[in-house]
């Protein structure tokens, strides 16, 4: 998920997860589970369209207060409306993969809506009741960037449970990946501060060092056990970051073309203090 710089609101836009192909109905649940899966697919699509229409109202030159007003207006912002519908489906479909997925969707909406206690409850319910579901891969994906709403320690704990207890290789890989990624970014000791502030504050602390060691072991495990999955491949990029992009390391050189087509290297700037700003407006 990208942090939304354009709107400048200081929070991330909710990324609507791509639809899973309708899950295989668990044996015994028969046609009903398939019906719920289809209903979920339909509802997700409707929500995506409603969200798209909602975001089209935002203009780049809109004052922040007006954007905030739009967000908090339940008539305009479709999130609360759809959250109730996902929740209703999750209850009716209890026990199916569609229900797991619907709860995961509700969890992300609860996070975004500052109803974080509810978000925590849902995660607990999912871990207690849907550990066998392949849809739990989405919970791991959601917490990769959504951990700050759930809380760092709860997110880590959820991922540890998922990675140890899920019967599905992809869920294990997803949970391992999220656990490693948040360990790498966040030292264990600090809860509730912004990422940048945490990274500064704890760069050299023993807790930070221990987190980094654990993250490395998990990424290496992903590379070895899940090399074919996207998680195994992304793990390589994180290992590069651990080896070359930490505070105190010499930044790896790069060569690029500038806005005039002129090639240059980072090392051309030795002797100068350099700020590298990865940015874009999109």
């Amino acid at each position: 998920m990208k942090r939304c710089r354009r709107l400048g609101l200081g929070f991330a836009l909710l990324a609507v997860p791509p639809l899973l192909a309708a899950q295989q109905a668990p044996s015994g649940a028969g046609a009903q589970a398939a019906d719920y899966a289809a209903e979920l697919q339909q509802l997700s699509q409707e929500f995506r369209q409603a969200q798209q229409a909602f975001y089209e109202q935002f203009r780049e030159d809109m004052p922040q207060e007006e954007m905030a007003r739009l967000f908090s207006d339940p008539e305009k912002n479709p999130t609360a409306r759809y959250r109730a519908r996902f929740e209703d489906l999750a209850r009716r479909a209890a026990g199916t993969d569609a229900a797991a997925e619907a709860w995961i969707q509700v969890q992300s909406m609860a996070n975004g809506a500052e109803d974080q206690a509810r978000g925590r409850e849902i995660v607990d319910q999912l871990l207690a009741g849907y550990m066998q579901s392949p849809a739990m891969e989405k919970l791991a994906g959601q917490l990769r960037y959504g951990w700050y709403s759930l809380g760092l320690n709860r997110s880590k704990d959820a991922m540890r449970q998922l990675r140890q207890r899920s019967p599905h290789a992809l869920v294990q890989a997803a949970a391992t990946f999220t656990l490693a990624a948040i360990l790498m970014e966040q030292p264990g000791a600090v809860e509730g501060a912004s990422a940048g502030a945490i990274i500064q504050a704890g760069a050299d602390s023993p807790a930070r060092e221990q987190d980094r060691r654990e993250a490395r072991a998990l990424f290496e495990e992903l590379g070895a056990k899940h090399a074919d999955s996207s998680y195994g491949q992304s793990a390589q990029a994180y290992l590069f970051e651990l080896d070359h992009l930490q505070i105190g390391m010499v930044a790896p050189d790069f060569e690029a073309e500038d806005e005039h087509g002129q090639p240059f290297k980072l090392s051309d700037y030795r002797g100068k203090v350099v700020v590298l700003d990865f940015w874009g407006f999109w």
Binding site: R3, Y145, F264, Y269, R270, G271, V273, D277, F278
Partner: protein, 98 residues
């Protein structure tokens, strides 16, 4: 972010300091338009997209991501913005001429 960066680039124009943008918006032409429209005059690496080669290699998955390097090329700070960024830069400039 950008207004402060502009001021900072101006304030530090005679110092051994460089702000380098690594832009993920598109090709060189579309970037030139963005720079012109927004009055951005510091050097850019054209990375093409959020999956560009530099963003990929540097494992960037949130924007903006900021690295602050000292005059020896050592990464000293990450993800500081605005006044905090400028304070960090001033600190590193002071290291060059103690």
């Amino acid at each position: 972010m950008i207004p402060h960066e502009k001021e900072m680039v101006e304030r530090l124009q005679d110092e051994p300091f460089a702000l380098i943008g690594i832009n993920s918006d598109g090709d060189r032409e579309s970037l030139q338009k963005i720079l012109k429209d927004n009055g951005i005059a510091w050097r850019q690496a054209v990375d093409g997209s959020t999956n560009g080669p530099l963003a990929t290699r540097w494992n960037v998955h949130g924007w903006p991501t900021i690295y602050i390097l000292d005059h020896k090329g050592v990464i000293r700070f990450r993800d500081l913005r605005d006044e905090a960024m400028e304070r960090a830069v001033m600190e590193l400039l002071a290291e060059i001429r103690p």
